[in-house]
Amino acid sequence: MSELIRSNGFTNEVLGWKAWLPTVDLNSATGEQVAVLQESHPQAMTSDYYLTLAHHPDILRQRSQAFNAIMYAPGGLSRAERELASTVVSRINRCVYCASVHAQRFEQLAKRNDVISEVFADPATAGTTDRERAIVQFAIDLTLEPASLSAGHIQTLREQGLDDAQVLDLIHAIAIFAWANRLMLNLGEPVFTAP
């Protein structure tokens, strides 16, 4: 079991999520809705989140294809570093549910959660290495000040050993959480299940 982190309202414990809108009823769902749910996530059929998004299956299909390609494709930036970036974005946008899910994924991949504790405590100073600090800072800048992004930001990442394919993976992981956080924050709320 991982060490429990609770900090500034953020946690790495397993949370639930409850929809504010009526979800798609599987008994009356169309074949297309069921197919898209199956493609999207292993637990989508029992997830309020996916059952909300399934109201428009074509849009959900494109979203899931983008999300899964960004977070799970082999090569490029390590999956742990993608999860770190997603956790930072979720911390900045204050999506407690998303931060919890991706903190857990980071730990599963990296076998440690030191940097997650730091991100929850204070993202601006988080990172256990220069490379991690550069990734965290880039995630903060692209989340909060996308208009400020310049060649200098890319240069800083290159100096930490990221090639351009890895930089693009990082940009994708940050941008897709701008998308995911807004859905999770505005279509429902986290449910705290732990004692």
């Binding site: 809108l21 692209l142 992004l149 930001h153 890319i154 394919a165």
Partner: protein, 175 residues
């Protein structure tokens, strides 16, 4: 360059707007992640399909996109969505209200609530709540329409950051 309802095999929107040409380093890097590029463009095509099975009009969707890009701000996408609105015949009163950020003064109550929701999601997504969804329901938006609207605004939050990132990579040049 103006494309209307006719769906011609258009080049990828971000490649076109950011001048990412085939044969260049950045084009090769971007399209090595072909599934991401195609799902990004696939989303773009769906959200701005005039025939989207939904009562959110194309004009409403384009105002959302223009306002979202303008608030970010992301100049290239702002210009793109304005151009698309001009193709439809732009309502200048709405344009003035949106540009001055005074969307609460819009006479069209439905557009007022839609753009208010857009502003919250773009600027301060944590401040969205159930009351915001009820306001949309009050203006006649169905559950499916609210889901499409939230997806659209969330997609735009992704698209403006992807454009900013690709633009920075473009100006950094090949390593």
């Amino acid at each position: 360059m103006t494309s209307t309802a006719e769906h011609i095999a258009e080049p990828d929107l971000l490649d076109r707007l950011l001048d990412i040409h085939p044969g260049t380093h950045l084009h090769a890097v971007r399209h090595a992640r072909a599934k991401v590029a195609s799902a990004t463009q696939g989303s773009q095509d769906l959200f701005f399909d005039p025939a989207l099975e939904n009562n959110l009009s194309l004009s409403e969707r384009l105002w959302v996109a223009y306002f979202a890009a303008r608030l970010t701000p992301q100049a290239t996408l702002t210009a793109h969505y304005l151009e698309q609105l001009q193709v439809l015949g732009l309502d200048e009163t709405v344009h003035v209200a949106v540009d001055s950020g005074a969307v609460e003064t819009l006479k069209d109550a439905r557009l007022r609530v839609i753009l208010g929701f857009t502003r919250t999601l773009i600027e301060s997504p944590v401040h969205g709540d159930q009351v915001a969804l009820q306001a949309l329901q009050h203006e006649g938006l169905s559950t499916a329409e609210i889901v499409v609207l939230a997806q659209l605004i969330a997609f735009l939050s992704y698209q403006v950051r992807l454009a900013a990132g690709l633009g920075a990579l473009q100006s950094a040049g090949a390593a």
